[in-house]
Amino acid sequence: MIKTDALIIGAGPTGLFTAHQLKLIGLDCEIVDNLDKIGGQCIELYPDKPIYDIPAIPECTGEELTNNLLEQLKPFNIKFHLGERVDELKKDNEKWKVKTSKGTVFETPNVIIAGGVGSFEPRKFPTKECEQFENKTILYSIKDKKIFDGKTVSIFGGGDSALDWALELSKTSKINLIHRRDEFRAAQATVDKIKELSNAGKINLITNSQLKTVFGNGKLEEIEIENDNKETKKLKTDFALGFFGLIMQLGPIANWGLNLNKKTVEVDTEKFETNQKGIYAVGDICNYPGKLKLILSGFHEGALAARACFKLARPNEKYRFEFTTSSKTIKNRLGVKSD
């Protein structure tokens, strides 16, 4: 079991800056995120898109913003638990016991939810029949590519994941690549390569078509696809892979007894605390009158929630407000020389 002063759920910009604020005032914290990388929506949704409304930064991409926040966190040794989703949150005496999908357990007086719009999960095929084959012969991510050796694999999607895997698996498998339109959103070089392989008959490229239904007994045997003119076609296949990007689900947060408003968590604007003592929500996931879903709002909310954490983490000490420009204690924490 890991004991910490505060646990942050979500490694997006708000979670990262909140960690910085906690460390500045002398509290420990650890961060859990369901994604396998740091940066949240900034990295998952718009790593290359420029952002123009971060104070004092005229322009930066989602990736640059994440890297800068990590740089700012460098003086502190923050432990990240990536690829883990927080599944359980229970009150145990005056502390919160938090359990993740990988079985990691935390004990902490403070939990800060900086979960954006929930956890990212793969978008699945809408076809109900797919469920019975899910995680066996119908997959939304690849853990071991060897299982496809010598098999027929039908890949759906038009982005980088779909095209990259089509290229990679075409070396050892028979590939059907199916996309709902004839334009792709992947890197141009990848698209060119796919077209080259398609022309050479090495990849069966089918555009303007989508999955209609699937057939099989125990394991997937055949898929039926339909094109824009409602013409259907059956294809024998051993596997179907769907790469339709990620969707955001509130997930287990909905079960923690918090006051919810649609997909957001209600908080006060002094501590950004929820209706549960010691549980805070900051960034896009929190809601209060006048809430703006901007990164800068998340920074402000995180700074205030961090101060609120101090009271529960250090009940016998008094929090003293200090500036980074003048405080010796803070400079020590940052590892910089004081004048």
């Binding site: 929506q41 949704l45 718009y46 978008r123 809408p126 038009g158 339109r181 990007g245 955001m248």
Partner: protein, 106 residues
């Protein structure tokens, strides 16, 4: 102002007056029309304000934004007449617009 009708997948229809300058997504959210999630708040960074626009209206509304189709690839059950409602501008010309909502957004 323009009258916009949102038709849920179960056939239930909601007609609301939406001010010029807003988007069809904002018209739904501000009037509590169910079935449009708009998780990203109109930034074209998700696909949860997805609607279907019938042929007779499809050419009357503003054209798709750059990158809109990339997001629609990631919507639930995209079709040829799919649009993201956050990218449809409300103007007097589209008074009477009907949009159909998908079974679900996520």
């Amino acid at each position: 102002m323009a009258k916009i009708t949102y038709i849920e997948n179960n056939g239930k229809s909601h007609t609301v007056e939406v001010a010029e300058g807003l988007t069809v997504m904002e018209g739904a959210v501000q009037n509590n029309v169910p079935g449009i999630d708009a998780d990203c708040g109109g930034g074209m960074a998700c696909a949860t304000c997805h609607v279907y626009v019938k042929d007779e209206w499809f050419d009357k509304i503003n054209k798709k934004s750059e990158g809109e189709d990339d997001m629609i690839d990631q919507a639930y059950e995209p079709k040829k007449n799919s649009r993201l409602s956050c990218q449809i501008q409300v103007s007097p010309e589209i008074d009477g617009l009907e949009v159909h909502l998908p079974v679900k957004q996520v």
